[in-house]
């Protein structure tokens, strides 16, 4: 397949990843850490966004976050696997596999029942994790020193290397998600919310399409989970608690779902918001967070990312008046 012109989203993703990699040396450690948390959450949220495109609200993304994180922690603890890249690949595969298994069952559900069933499954796993001592119970598990591409860094070097790994894993996963969303199958996913009947009459299985989206969502959730686990070097059953999944959906609400870049923007916005609230209002950070959430939902209901789109559209519109020929070409691209 040849691309006539480079895909804007992929170019932006690459530029962001390269920029962050270069900037990494100057970013203070605590901001790097917050960024890693935001990136991890963004990947899981991207999974939630893929499903939301099909009109499916998942309160179970936490399950895959959990699956990715615990695959890494358990492989480290019991299999002695301590190579970051292997752990990441393994975790993504396992969580994608879990999603594939659950997908047979869950792809029958829509609307609130999809939301509540994903919540129930996730909470069941949470309940089991709290009880099973192999999983470290509610205290969770720690991950000790890991090697990155064979190198055994320590202290600040390890943190820096981990930051780079996070950036590039997230970048690659986002590209995969982007390629999926702009494909015909991606369009089918979007069409599901509009009209399942027509899709069936066009020879497409809606269930299989949802299943595919669910596997991708699972893999993205798992990628987020393993990155969070390797960054924090600690996992606990809270990953599967429904409020974790709620955060992921909120990130998508915050940013809108226009592009795979949106959840990254939303996750950073949420992290900044939370840090700001926690630092300045230790007694009322929930209230501050809630108030800002409410204001966003009320006044920017399409998500903060929409601001950029509106600005972009304005900018483009201005360009059009000068060069009207460009119009058809631009609008033809969704």
């Amino acid at each position: 397949m040849t691309l006539r012109k480079p895909d804007t989203t992929i170019v932006v993703l690459l530029l962001l990843a390269i920029g962050a990699s270069i900037g990494a040396w100057w970013i203070p450690g605590w901001i790097r850490f917050i960024s890693q948390m935001a990136i991890s959450a963004a990947l899981a949220s991207l999974g939630a966004m893929v499903l939301l495109r099909a009109g499916l609200l998942s309160f179970g993304q936490g399950l895959f976050y959990f699956a990715g994180a615990y695959t890494a922690a358990l492989s480290y603890k019991y299999l002695g696997l301590n190579e970051a890249v292997l752990l990441i690949l393994f975790s993504i595969a396992i969580s994608g596999g879990v999603a594939a298994a659950i997908g047979f069952f869950i792809s029958n559900y829509r609307g609130i029942f999809f939301a509540m069933l994903t919540l129930a499954i996730s909470m069941l796993v949470y309940g089991i994790a709290v009880k099973v001592s192999l999983f470290g119970g509610s205290d969770g598990l720690n991950i000790g020193l890991i090697s990155i591409l064979g190198f055994r860094y320590r202290g600040p070097d390890l943190q820096l290397a981990m930051f780079l790994i996070c950036i590039w894993t997230a970048g690659l996963m986002a590209m995969v998600a982007h390629l999926f969303l702009r494909s015909r199958l991606g369009k089918v996913i979007e069409a599901i919310e509009d009209n399942e009947v027509r899709l069936e009459y066009l020879g497409t299985s809606v269930r299989s399409s949802i299943h595919a989206a669910y596997v991708l969502a699972g893999a993205l959730g798992g990628a987020g989970g393993v990155l969070a686990a390797l960054s924090a070097r600690h996992v606990d059953p809270g990953f599967a608690y429904w409020t974790t999944a709620g955060d992921f959906v909120f990130i998508v609400i915050l940013s809108g779902q226009a592009s795979v870049l949106s959840p990254f923007f939303g996750a950073f916005a949420l992290e900044v918001l939370r840090t700001f609230a926690a630092a300045n209002f230790p007694d009322a950070w929930q209230m501050v967070l809630g108030t800002i959430m409410l204001l966003i939902v009320l006044f920017v209901p399409k998500g903060l990312g929409h601001i950029f789109i509106a600005l972009g559209a304005r900018w483009k519109a201005r360009g059009r008046t000068v060069v009207p020929a460009a119009m058809n070409e631009e609008t033809a691209r969704p």
Binding site: M116, A120, G127
Partner: protein
């Protein structure tokens, strides 16, 4: 014989827990039926109701009123404040969002819940409060081999009365029938001349008041402390979803299923009590993907 006694105990516990579940869920079910949103702020209303009841019961007791008056005062205060808060939320938040996707409204209610969480904490402080005076005053009763507080068993009666009252209102009053019509088909109702917006406002107000009332009725049983609203939300969601959303009979069935699941596991399999609720929800949805009492919605093509 002992087995029979044990079984009876489990059933009594299950029923009394189910009654409580129904009381905390009925407002949520109603709001879902009419407004089509899962109202997370319901948990916040519950917490506010509990704190208000603690205040009311304390104040009434200090002025020498008996258990009945204490409860009446608590319930009245809770319902009044709940309705007030309900109107406030509907006017300032929900009304502006009806055109938007349900997810967005869901998160608006979550934001309201977060605000409530800290507001109750800032108003009443971090330490727990209690309001057990009326529960103690009503005394205990022996059922089979065990002693139960009269108050807990009275909750079963309250739940039944509540169910009957809500069902009768829905089926026999003009407004109630309008509400039922809106639940069934919003567009159709609007075209039939029902003021759907007013029905939605009213329902949210009643739902909020039922939330605070549930908190007030629960207050004498528990320690009222920061964070009591969170668990209540998930329980109420489970009950509502199992029932099939938006039907009073469904909420009752959901409450009984969750209540019995909890009682059975608490007695016989305490190790898995933590996820009994979720297991019950998963099993019901696996067998009936639309919940127990859902109307099948065949798409007209």
């Amino acid at each position: 014989m002992q087995l029979l006694g044990h079984l009876a105990t489990i059933v009594i516990d299950g029923v009394s827990y189910a009654a409580w579940l129904f009381i905390i869920s009925v407002g949520l079910t109603l709001v879902f039926g009419v407004l089509r949103i899962l109202n997370i702020a319901h948990g916040g209303m519950y917490a506010v109701g509990a704190y208000l009841a603690a205040y009311a019961i304390g104040a009434a007791a200090a002025n020498g009123f008996g258990a009945g008056a204490q409860l009446l005062f608590a319930a009245t205060l809770a319902v009044a404040c709940g309705a007030g808060l309900g109107i406030l939320i509907e006017w300032t938040v929900l009304r502006r969002l009806y055109r938007y996707p349900e997810v967005l409204v869901l998160f608006a209610t979550y934001a309201v819940f977060l605000i409530f969480e800290d507001a109750t904490k800032l108003l009443w402080g971090g330490q727990s409060r209690y309001a057990n005076a009326p529960r103690d005053a009503l005394g205990q009763i022996r059922l089979g081999e065990l002693i139960y507080p009269v108050y807990d068993l009275a909750m079963v009666l309250v739940a039944i009365l509540l169910a009957v009252a809500v069902s009768l209102t829905l089926s026999s009053t003009r407004i109630g029938r309008c509400v039922t019509a809106v639940v069934f088909d919003r567009e159709m109702s609007a075209s039939m001349g029902i003021n759907v917006n007013r029905i939605m406002t009213g329902t949210f107000l009643v739902g909020a008041a039922l939330g605070t009332l549930a908190g007030a009725l629960t207050a004498p049983k528990i320690a009222i402390s920061s964070g009591i609203g969170v668990d209540v939300i998930v329980l109420a969601f489970a009950v509502t979803v199992i029932g099939g959303l938006g039907s009073i009979g469904g909420a009752m069935a959901g409450a009984v299923i969750v209540g019995m699941a909890r009682a059975v596991t608490a007695h016989l399999f305490p190790q898995i009590e933590l996820f009994a609720v979720y297991a019950a929800m998963a099993v019901v949805l696996a067998v009936r993907p639309q919940g127990l009492f859902a109307r099948p919605e065949a798409r007209k093509i």
